[in-house]
């Protein structure tokens, strides 16, 4: 019964989404206020119905209702309860439902927090989100119904893929989807601006915090995914340039560019058309990501068994959304305008170069990801000889680095450059000292580590200079306030959150760069054959293999290795990597044992049993790898700080007051003048 309610709720949601997608926008065109007013209640109703459907699916999982095909395929009665809930998004149908839940959730959030938007603007934004929802609801109802019944019901389920039975995977997909789907808000704002033909600083101020929130979620999602790959896949890698990773990374790059170009649109009214294009790009790449993951057109470590029919549907949907948006852009963008001019040496130029570099990086990733697909297409059209190709990691590593190095250099300088017209002399004076200190550090540190390489020095220099210039920038602003008689703490707290957020996020990137540089430069990896009692010494640590014992978990059996870690003759700890066999899917899984540390991780995973009671063991020493995820944390905190800036709330309040006074029937012109004067 419950699954049928869920199914019915989805069908109802489709009709509500249709209503939301058509009526309000039509209302703004035909000037029918009653239709426009439908937007908000429809958004709430949409969320309610989708949430009901989602709740029904969760219930089916928790209750082990194996008469539902999707539950039978992705759960098992022995599966611990938290993983049963996570199993809801462990497969295609459920993750799609999660997508839609988040999309309608974002629409509801917009409806709730957009009281200050003009009714027409709110109607357009919500309407566009409704249309996207229609597409996805059609998709789920026609190709991927999660509530399909299985008759006769299965006795027990096929269990969740063991790789997904992990805390990281419980939260990684929701975070990632929040980010992916969150860009739909920026997209909807952009489309609404195109339809309305008006794009100004106020528009940028509205869409900026939404973009930043989505970006924060995407950042957390990618960080978690990378961390999960590191500890769960058992070979210690954290980024593979796998198509599915790229699929989440491309919207992130576009989103990062968008955040920066929005800054120009808000502060200076510039880059308008470009901002709109980036907003379209970011969401299009999110859709492309969904297509790549779900269609199975690419070979990927993430590729689950997939269905070409679904791929085709998403491809068509992708074509409609991107094609439609770009057509609208071509038609309306001239009306939006380009924005004001600026000098060659100014903050605007810095941000322009930032955008160019980010888009180049995005292009590199996009080309490498899609190239195999392009070749496939040429083969299918008989233009070239049949061939299957893949693009190797070295391409991504070297080509991605090229735009990143100038980008990081620019990041140290950019925040010091004034809007419209910068002062080069002043800049050099300010940044001289930190530049020299960073050079010294970058040369000296590798000497201390006992191994010199150009890449390490370059990476360390970029990270160090960025950190120093940020500290100096924040420090000097605090010093100014102290001169005015404030205490250091009130001065720090008094800094605008937008400014602080930027600096914290940039600092996070510096931390990530330092981490990547050091782990790439100084990591030690060894695969060894170990008998009981054998030892291995690496980077000052001695590892002694004390054998393997068997053990059992709730739904698996395991061999657990015992490895004593010794440093300076003292027993430090015992690391216990496992090799598990999950009962239902009889699928082996390596569970690495990791000792996390601020300056290094020790990473051990168990390979296979070899002859003579020996095992193959993988022992890694990973210096500073934790900084990668610590840096992601900084990025996220920076984003949250930036979106909580006071000026967004003040602007919202002003706008609300203006709307209220319009409603009161007072002259709009007077009021505009009043607001202008007060700001």
């Amino acid at each position: 019964m419950i699954p049928e309610i869920g199914h019915f709720a989805l069908i109802t949601a489709l009709s509500v989404a249709l209503l939301l997608g058509i009526l309000p926008i039509a209302g703004t065109v035909l000037r029918i206020p009653a239709w426009v007013a439908v937007a908000r209640p429809a958004a709430y109703a949409l969320f309610l119905f989708v949430a009901t459907a989602f709740g029904c699916l969760v219930y089916a999982f928790v209750q082990n209702d194996f008469s539902v095909l999707y539950v039978a395929l992705h759960s098992n009665s022995a599966l611990p309860i938290q993983y049963r809930v996570a199993a809801v998004w462990g497969g295609h149908e459920g993750s799609l439902l999660l997508w839609i839940l988040m999309l309608s959730g974002w629409a509801t959030a917009v409806a709730l927090f957009s009281r200050h938007l003009s009714p027409a603007m709110a109607a357009r934004v919500l309407g566009v989100m409704g249309l996207i929802c229609v597409g996805f609801l059609l998709f789920i109802l026609f190709t991927s119904n999660p509530f399909e019944r299985l008759f006769p019901a299965a006795v027990d389920g096929r269990d969740l893929n063991p790789l997904l039975q992990d805390f990281g995977l419980v939260i990684h997909p929701p975070m990632l989807y929040m980010g992916y789907v969150g860009f739909s808000v920026a997209f909807a704002f952009a489309i609404a601006a195109l339809i309305g033909g008006k794009l100004d600083a106020a528009w940028a101020r509205w869409s900026r915090p939404w973009t930043t929130v989505a970006w924060v979620f995407l950042t957390i999602g990618i960080g978690l995914g990378s961390w999960w790959a590191y500890y769960e896949l058992g070979w210690g890698g954290w980024w593979f340039w796998d198509p599915v990773e790229n699929a989440s990374f491309m919207p992130w790059l576009a989103g990062t560019a968008l955040i920066h170009s929005l800054a120009v649109t808000e502060k200076r009214g510039g880059f308008r058309s470009w901002t709109v294009l980036l907003a379209i790009l970011a969401f299009s790449l999110s859709l492309l990501g969904t297509f790549l993951v779900r269609s199975g057109v690419l070979t990927s470590v993430h590729a689950f068994a997939t269905d070409p029919e679904r791929g085709l549907f998403i491809l068509i949907f992708l074509g409609v959304v991107i094609g439609g948006a770009l057509l609208l852009y071509a038609w309306r963008a001239p009306r939006v305008g380009l924005g004001g001019g600026f000098n060659a040496f100014s903050r605007e130029t810095m941000l322009l170069i930032n955008n160019v570099l980010l888009v180049v990086a995005l292009g590199v990733v996009l080309l490498g990801t899609l190239f195999p697909l392009v070749v496939d297409a040429f083969v299918a059209l008989n233009i070239i000889e049949p061939a299957k190709i893949s693009v190797g990691e070295p391409y991504f590593n070297s080509m991605f680095l090229l735009p990143m190095i100038p980008l990081l250099l620019l990041m140290s300088i950019g925040p010091y450059v004034r809007w419209k017209q910068g002062n080069a002399g002043e800049l050099i004076k300010q940044l001289r000292t930190s530049f020299i200190i960073s050079i010294v550090l970058a040369v000296a540190l590798p000497f201390l580590m006992g191994e010199i390489s150009l890449m390490v020095s370059v990476g360390l220099f970029l990270a160090a200079w960025l950190m120093l210039s940020i500290l100096q920038g924040v420090g000097s602003r605090i010093a100014q306030e102290i001169k005015r008689g404030k205490s250091a703490i009130t001065a720090l707290l008094g800094l605008p959150n937008g400014y602080l957020g930027m600096q914290v996020a940039h600092f996070g990137l510096a931390v990530i760069v330092a981490g990547i540089t050091l782990v790439k430069g100084y990591e030690v990896e060894q695969d060894v054959r170990m008998e009981v009692g054998d030892t291995l010494t690496m980077s000052g640590y001695t590892f002694r293999f004390d054998g393997v014992m068997s053990t059992t978990g709730p739904n698996y059996r395991a061999n657990r290795g015992m490895i004593q870690v010794i440093k300076d003759g003292k027993d430090l700890m015992v690391l216990e990597p496992e090799k598990r066999i999950y009962n239902v899917q009889s699928m082996p899984m390596t569970e690495a044992a990791i000792d996390y540390g601020f300056t290094r991780d020790l990473y051990i995973s168990l390979g296979d049993p070899l002859s003579g009671g020996a095992w193959s063991v993988r022992v890694y020493y990973k210096p500073f790898i934790g900084w990668l995820w610590g840096g992601c944390g900084f990025l996220a905190i920076g984003g949250f700080l930036a979106m909580s800036d006071r000026r967004y709330r003040i602007a919202a309040r002003k706008q609300q007051a203006r709307m209220a006074s319009i409603a009161d029937g007072r002259a709009v012109v007077d009021n505009n003048i009043a607001t202008e004067a007060s700001s």
């Binding site: 070979t299 689950f304 190709i389 190797g392 070295p394 391409y395 899917q585 699928m587 070899l610």
Partner: protein, 149 residues
């Protein structure tokens, strides 16, 4: 500089930068492409010797042999078979009778030296290349031995 000259300089500079970037990217891409071959392709000498490529097929049952950390196994598309050697720890889902994709080089001794053996997330998943290779080999077989079904 007059604004018109400035704009011209911008455009020319931009075009030059794009051209350089495009050349670099395409060169890097070309150098890092790995072609996929099936065992039948390799036996038919379609694959270059000593060039990085991918080999895919099924791990032939009963052929996995270990010697220290080095593993040797045969990859088959049910028509032809190629021996593979790999040193290191194999991914979890490496199993006899299952699909596998190995990246490495074909050496003159006729053995494929794998630098990487790719793991998949799902035991029911078959890499599309492997599926296609198996199908092709089957078609080739059936057209010789018996009429197609």
């Amino acid at each position: 500089m007059k604004p018109r000259h400035k704009r011209l300089a911008f455009i020319v500079g931009g075009l030059v930068a794009i051209a350089i970037a495009a050349t670099l990217v395409l060169k890097a891409l070309e150098g890092n492409l790995a072609y996929f071959f099936s065992p039948s392709d390799i036996v038919a000498n379609k694959a270059p010797v000593d060039h990085t490529m991918r080999l895919g097929g099924l791990v032939k049952k009963g052929t996995v042999k270990r010697e220290g950390l080095t593993v040797r196994f045969d990859v088959t598309d049910n028509a032809e078979t190629v021996s593979v050697s790999y040193t290191g720890i194999l991914p979890d889902l490496f199993q006899e009778g299952q699909g596998v994709v190995a990246q490495g080089r074909m050496r003159s001794d006729g053995v494929f030296h794998a630098e990487e053996v790719l793991a998949k997330h799902d035991e029911t998943y078959m890499p599309p290349e492997v599926a296609a290779a198996l199908e092709k080999a089957e078609q080739a077989n059936s057209s010789v031995a018996q009429p197609a079904l």
